[in-house]
Subunit: 601 residues, 2 copies
C-alpha cells in the first residue's frame, strides 16, 4: 500500500530554509545538533512511521479498543509501533539529557510529530498525551514524585493522561466537582466522574499516570479552587515496583466517529475508598499547572489537523495523477485516450486549495513550535518574553486554523476521488472523520475565539499584537521589493491595516462596556485573524522560494519552488479576501444572533 506521509522535501524546506532551525544550534541546549543530525532523526521518524504506524491505521479504525476480561484491549500493532517509537527515543525527544531525553529542539520534534500523525494520528496520540503529562510532573512535581513517576514515563513504561472534563461541566471548568480529601499520610483521596479521557485505559504499558483536576474540601468555588493530582492506575512502591490497583475504574468506552484507535474513556475515581492521589505543587493552583502545557498541547492539535489534511492531500494528488477519466475541454473524440483527472481545472483547483491549507498550516505550526524553543532558549530575558507573548497570541490560531481548514482539505480530498473517496477502500474518508475531532478537543473554536479576542489581543495594551504586526510588516517590506510577490504583499498590507483598525475599534468598544456585543462575534474575528496570519506565513515561505528559484538548477527543484509560489498566490487571491466581509461585520458589531430571542433560533 502506498503511504501518504508529509512530503519530506517540504518539511526540510520549512524547517531549514523558512524557519532557519539551524540558528538554534548555537544555543548550549542544542549544541550537539546540526542540520544533518536533525535530518537523521527525521529519517528514523519517517522509517518508523512508514513501517509501523501507517500499516495499521485503517485496521485500528475498524477494530476499536474493546473491554475484554477486565482489560481494554487494542490491536497488537499499536504496542508494536510504540515499541519502535520508544526505542528510537521519540518518547522523550525534547526532554533533558539527564532525564533520558534527546534535548531535541521542540520545532524538530513537532515536525516528527506531524510525520507520525500523517501515518496514524490515533496511535500517535498515546505517547503524545504521556509526554505532556510527564512534562507537567517534570516542571511542577516534587523530587519524590519525579522519582516514582517521571522516570518510567520518560522510558515509556508508564503512559499518562490529562483528566479535566466532567459530564456536567464540559468546557466550563469552573463547575468541576471531583473532590480531594486529605489523608493522614499526606496523600489525598479522589472521588468523582470524568469523561472524554483519551488514553484513559489500555493495555499498552505497565501503568497509567492520570493527572486529575479536583477540588480540595473547602476550596473556593470556580476555577480558583482547583488542584492537580497524580493518580496512578496502579500504586507504585518505594522501590519502583507496582503495588495495588488504585481505586480508578473504567466506567465506559466512548465510541466516536473517527480517531477510533485512541481510546476515549469515562473514568470513575473513588467508587470504593477514594483513589489515592498526590498533590502537585500548591493547592488551588492546578489549572495553572495544567495550562502551562496547554500551548504545547494546542499546537499539537493544530499539527495533528495539518497531518490529517496533508495525508489526504497526498492521497488525492496521487489519485489525480493516476486516475484516467474524461478529456480536455474541446476534445470531443471519444476514441482518444482519457486524461488523468489532474488535467481537469476543477481538480487542479481542489489540489491547490488543499496544498495552500496543509502547507500553510504546517508552516504555521512549525513557527509556533519555534516560539516554544525561543521561550526556553533565546539569548536573553527580553527575547524570551517576546517569544512568549507572541506564542500566547498565536496559540488559539495555531489550534483553530488547521482544525478548520485542513478538515476542509480532507473534504476536498474526498471530492477529488469522487465516489471512490466516499468508500472505505480509500484512505481519505477516515482522515475526514478523524479530523472532525480537532475543532472540538483542547478547547473548541468558540473557546479559542474568546481567548484570542477577549484576552490575547488586548493583553499588555496590545503588545503581542504589535509584535506580530511588526513581524508581518518586516516580511511585507521584503516582499514588496520582490518582483514575483509585490502583488501579494500589497494585498496583505491592506488586510493587515484593516485588522489593526478593527482590533483597535473592538478593544476600545470592550473598554466602553460593549464587551458582550464585541465577543458575540469573536469566532468571526478568529477566522479573519487566522487567514491574515496564514497569508503572512505564505508570503514568508514564498519569499524564500523566490530567492531559491533564482539559483535552482533542476526541473524538479524549480517545480517544487514554483509550487510554493503558486500556493501562495492561491492563498492571497482566493482565501485572504474572505476576510473583507468579516471585517465589515465586525466593525459594525453586528448583533444578528445576539439580539435574537431564543425561540427565533
Amino acid at each position: 500500500m502506498q503511504d501518504h506521509l508529509i512530503d519530506r522535501e517540504t518539511l526540510d524546506f520549512l524547517l531549514f530554509d523558512v524557519m532557519e532551525v539551524e540558528k538554534l544550534f548555537a544555543r548550549p541546549r542544542f549544541a550537539d545538533y546540526s542540520q544533518e543530525t536533525i535530518g537523521a532523526v527525521l529519517d528514523t521518524g519517517y522509517a518508523i512511521a512508514r513501517d509501523h504506524f501507517a500499516p495499521h491505521n485503517r485496521k485500528a479504525d475498524e477494530n476499536e479498543p474493546e473491554f475484554i476480561d477486565g482489560e481494554v484491549k487494542l490491536i497488537p500493532e499499536v504496542a508494536e509501533a510504540l515499541k519502535h517509537f520508544i526505542e528510537a527515543g521519540f518518547m522523550s525527544a525534547t526532554a533533558d539529557y539527564d532525564q533520558g531525553g534527546m534535548q531535541l529542539p521542540f520545532t524538530a520534534n513537532m515536525a516528527a510529530t506531524a510525520v507520525f500523525a500523517s501515518a496514524n494520528v490515533a496511535t500517535r496520540a498515546y505517547p503524545s498525551l504521556a509526554a505532556s503529562a510527564a512534562n507537567v510532573i517534570a516542571k511542577f512535581g516534587t523530587d519524590a514524585q519525579k522519582a516514582k513517576f517521571l522516570g518510567p514515563m520518560r522510558e515509556g513504561r508508564f503512559f499518562g493522561t490529562m483528566v479535566l472534563t466532567e459530564p456536567q461541566a464540559g468546557s466550563s471548568l469552573a463547575d468541576l466537582k471531583t473532590s480531594a480529601k486529605p489523608a493522614d499520610d499526606g496523600t489525598y483521596r479522589i472521588t468523582g466522574n470524568k469523561i472524554f479521557i483519551s488514553a484513559g485505559d489500555h493495555n499498552l504499558t505497565e501503568n497509567i499516570v492520570h493527572l486529575v483536576l479536583a477540588r480540595l474540601e473547602g476550596a473556593p468555588a470556580g476555577i480558583r479552587g482547583i488542584s492537580l493530582f497524580i493518580v496512578p492506575k496502579f500504586l507504585v512502591n518505594e522501590d519502583g515496583s507496582l503495588g495495588e490497583r488504585n481505586d480508578v475504574a473504567l466506567a465506559g468506552l466512548i465510541h466516536k466517529m473517527g480517531y477510533r484507535g485512541t481510546t476515549s474513556t469515562m473514568l470513575n475515581f473513588g467508587e470504593n475508598d477514594g483513589a489515592i492521589g498526590y498533590l502537585i505543587g500548591e493547592p488551588h493552583n492546578g489549572l495553572a499547572y495544567m495550562f502551562h502545557m496547554m500551548n504545547e498541547a494546542r499546537i499539537g492539535v493544530g499539527t495533528g489537523a495539518v497531518a490529517l489534511g496533508y495525508t489526504g492531500y497526498r492521497a488525492a494528488r496521487a489519485y489525480a495523477q493516476d486516475r484516467q477519466q474524461g478529456r480536455p475541454l474541446g476534445n470531443k473524440d471519444p476514441a482518444s485516450p482519457q486524461s488523468p483527472i489532474i488535467d481537469h481545472p476543477d481538480v487542479r483547483r481542489m489540489l491547490l486549495a488543499q496544498k495552500a491549507y496543509v502547507e500553510g498550516g504546517l508552516a504555521l505550526c512549525l513557527f509556533a513550535a519555534s516560539l516554544i524553543d525561543e521561550c526556553a532558549t533565546a539569548e536573553n530575558e527580553e527575547a524570551r518574553a517576546e517569544a512568549h507573548r507572541l506564542l500566547e497570541l498565536l496559540t488559539p490560531i495555531t489550534k483553530s486554523w488547521p482544525s478548520q481548514w485542513c478538515l476542509e482539505a480532507n473534504s476536498l480530498a474526498i471530492q477529488v476521488h469522487g465516489g471512490y473517496g466516499y468508500t472505505r477502500e480509500y484512505p481519505v474518508e477516515q482522515a475526514y472523520r478523524d479530523n472532525r475531532l480537532n475543532p472540538i478537543h483542547e478547547g473548541t473554536h468558540g473557546i479559542q475565539s474568546l481567548d484570542l479576542l477577549g484576552r490575547k489581543v488586548g493583553m499588555d495594551d496590545g503588545r503581542a499584537f504589535d509584535q506580530l504586526r511588526l513581524l508581518i510588516e518586516e516580511t511585507l517590506e521584503a516582499a514588496k521589493a520582490s518582483e514575483s510577490l509585490a502583488g501579494e504583499a500589497h494585498a496583505l498590507e491592506s488586510t493587515l491595516a484593516r485588522l489593526k483598525e478593527v482590533t483597535a475599534h473592538l478593544n476600545q468598544a470592550m473598554k466602553d462596556g460593549e464587551k458582550e456585543r464585541v465577543l458575540a462575534n469573536a469566532s468571526v474575528y478568529l477566522e479573519a485573524f487566522g487567514h491574515t496570519v496564514v497569508a503572512w506565513i505564505w508570503i514568508k515561505t514564498a519569499l524564500v522560494a523566490a530567492t531559491k528559484l533564482e539559483k535552482a538548477s533542476t526541473d524538479e527543484e524549480r517545480a517544487f519552488l514554483n509550487g510554493k509560489l503558486r500556493a501562495c498566490r492561491y492563498f492571497l487571491r482566493w482565501e485572504l479576501p474572505k476576510t473583507g466581509m468579516h471585517f465589515d461585520r465586525l466593525t459594525e458589531m453586528d448583533d444578528t444572533w445576539l439580539s435574537a430571542e431564543n425561540d427565533w433560533l
Copy 2:
C-alpha cells in the same frame, strides 16, 4: 428517543404561504386536492417517518447490508418501514390514477420525501430510486414493457435502479463500455461491469428492475451511442409470474463512510450468456431518456441533503436548549446555576447559520419541485416552457447548494454538541457522514458547475437567466417597499447586478474563444450563483413572514415568523457578501490553477 424530523410548521408555511401550492388545486390533475387533503397526506407521512423510519436509522448504519447465503440481507426494519410506506400510497404518490398513483403534486411529494429523509435517508433511497426507474418506463416504455414491469413497480412489489457508472468511466459517460447484442427474439444480451449501483441488490422485493445504459454493437462512440435497457434481476413471464434468474451477478458490496443503510453494489452483467435486456425507446437515445428524469433526481439529492441538515439542526437546537453549561459573560459566580448553552452567542450563531442553510435549502428545493408541477400542468404551452427553462437553470443549484451548505450545517450541529457530537451516542455524526455523499452522486459539484456555466446560463441567448432575474426583481420591488426588508433588498439588488454583469462578461468571453479559462472557474460561479438564488428565496420567504407578522396573534406565531426574518437577515448579512470576492476573481478570469504546471500542484 426524540426524533428530529423537519419542522412541520415550517413545511406548511413554505408549501402553503410561500409556494402557494393551493394554486395547483385549480388544475384538472389536482382537482381532488385541497390544503386539508395535502395536510392529511403529510400527517400520514410524519407518522410513518416517526414510527417506522426514524427508529432504525442508527441500527441500519451499524448493520450494513451483508451478503449471506447468496442473498443481500438488510435488517428487517427496512422492509417493515417500506411496507407501511407503500401501503400508505407513497410509492407511487405522483403517478397517474390509472397507474394506481395518487396524482399528488410533485411539490407536496417532495415535501413528504424531505420528511422521510429527515427520519432515515438510507431507507428512503430504495423507493425513491424505484420510483425514478418506474417513471422512465412510464414515459418511454412500450405497452408490453409497462404491462410486465410498471405495474409491479408502482405497487412496490418490484424495486428499480439506475445503472450508469462503470469503473473505467466514472463521470465520463462517453466512455461507457457495457455492450448490448440483439438476440433473435427482439431482446438483447447485455454484458459489462457496473459500479456504485445504489439498491443494486437486496431482499426487499420480489424483483429488481435495472435500467442499464449500454452500447449496441456498432453504435457510434461517445455519448451519442448509448442506449437504455430494462434488465430485470428475475425474468418475468407473460402472466406476470417470475421466471428464471437473469444473468446479473452481484460482484461486490461497497462499504461507505455513511449512507450505509443503502446498499451500494458492483454488478456484473452477462458473466455467462449475457443478461437479457429490453430496449427502451430508440437506439442510441438512452442518455436522453435517463436524463429526462435527471432534474427530478437531482432535486431529490438536494432535498436529501436538506433533510440531513435539517435533522442535525433540530437535534442541535434541542441539545442547546437542554444542555446546561457555563454562564453569561459577566456572571463570574460559580455558585449560580449554569445556563443552557443556547444563551452563548457562538452557539446562537451556529444555530442561526444552520437554520438559514436548511430552511433556505428546503424553500429552494420546494420551489424547484413546484417548477416540475408547472412543467406538467401549467395553463398553456408558454407557461410550461418558461417553467422548464427555469427548472433547467436551477437544477444544478438545487442539487449542489444544499449538498454543500447543509453539510456545513451538519458540521455546525456537531460543534454545538461539543465532544458529545463526535460520539456515536448522538445522531449528528451520522447525519454528517451520510450527507458527505451528496456533493458526489448524481453529478459532482464540478459537473454541476459546468452544466450551469457551460450550458444553462447561456442557453437560448440567456433566456432562462433573464427569467430568473425578472422573478428576483419582482421580489425586490416588494421587499424595497417593506420597512423590515428594505436593507436586505438593497443588498441583493447590488449582488444581482453584479451577477448579471459577470454572467454577460463570461458568456462573451466564451464566445470570444476563452471557454477554457472561463470554465476553469465554473465551480466558483456555481457558488456565487447559488448564494444569490438562496438570498432571493430567503427574501421571498421573509416577505410572507413580515406580512403575516402584522396579524400574528400569539407569542408562538410571532416567534416563528421572527425566526424567518432573522434567518433572512443572517443570510443577507453574513452569507451573501461571500459572493463579492467570487465576482472579483471571475471578472478577472483568474487563472491561478489553470496556468499552473501539473507538478506544481
